[in-house]
């Protein structure tokens, strides 16, 4: 990949990381939106002045670094980025929120069903447990099953879901034996427990 494309990619990454649209960045950096699109997609042989304006707007600074220092500098930059695990944690949060919503939908659609009420109870038990980001896939699978249940309540599928819920809950309840005994502890947290 050539440098222009690389810089363009880096700028796009930084922009999206700050949840800015191209138009918003255009305003901040004093560069037309159409130009930003080109820079991000086809690579442009930017002038220093344009690059530094864009960088400034994205809280970046252009530096000339001695080649032998580059690995160390890269390492510094990497440390300052959100880690993949943090991103997975964010994704897990989203999917757990979705799980709760889908459960409510299923219960609402099948209000008279005892099974539905039981399912809801199971799901809520699960949401009270601290779930590791490694369970992202399993949570997603549950969500898919619930989507299907929403459309068509099937007793067998519902039982299968409840079993999966129980299995998942048991997996993480064992890791935290106090979890079931404490009060309403949040099932997930955004706090950084790296330390």
């Amino acid at each position: 990949m050539d440098l222009q494309a690389e810089i363009g990619k880096r700028l796009k990454q930084a922009r999206t990381a700050k949840a800015l649209s191209q138009a918003a960045l255009a305003k901040l950096a004093g560069v037309p939106q159409s130009h930003i699109s080109k820079i991000e997609n086809t690579g442009v042989d930017l002038r220093l002045s344009s690059l530094t304006e864009l960088a400034r707007a994205l809280d970046l600074e252009l530096m000339l670094v001695p080649r032998k220092v580059v690995p160390a500098a890269r390492s510094l930059i990497r440390q300052a980025q959100p880690t993949p695990i943090s991103l997975t944690k964010l994704a897990l949060r989203d999917d757990l929120a979705k799980l709760e919503k889908l459960t409510d939908s299923v219960v609402r659609e099948h209000a008279s069903s005892k099974n539905a009420a039981r399912l809801k109870s199971r799901i809520h038990d699960l949401l009270r447990v601290e779930i590791s980001p490694s369970a992202l896939g399993a949570v997603r699978a549950l969500n898919e099953q619930l989507e299907a249940l929403k459309k068509d309540q099937n007793i067998q599928r519902m039982n299968a879901v409840m079993q999966d819920v129980d299995r998942l809950r048991n997996k993480f309840a064992h890791l935290h034996p106090d979890a079931t005994e404490e009060g309403p502890r949040p099932a997930y947290s955004l706090e950084d427990d790296d330390g």
Copy 2:
């Protein structure tokens, strides 16, 4: 100072540090010499491609660094530079070489003078001692005196110089008592004794 000028200055510094002429760098980087002159002196709003070619030729790399990481990165870069003390050591070497030359000149011009012969002997004693870079100023002052002696031998000035030479030698001979007893040990060395 604006960024273009700053980059130009940085590039000049890197070039001279590598003892490259503008023409030599021009060849390495594939940029005309005339352009390099302009970049270094008036600042040019360079294109990314040009800047990276110049940087590459100077063992530098362009990086986009998050603002909060910049101080740390600067620190890394500073560590990778020759330290002021190393530069002072180089300067001392130059001035000691000059001292030796000037002495020879003075002696040559006043060949029949006993004082000149004595001075030469004193200077050679001094050059056999390990002199610290902190003595750079004193060595320079001696050189100035010798420049004056070259033009006009003055008995009083010569005596003053000899006293200064003795004083300087005594200062560093005390730090290394073995220096006067060992064989012809070099008076100075470029080796890095930081470790």
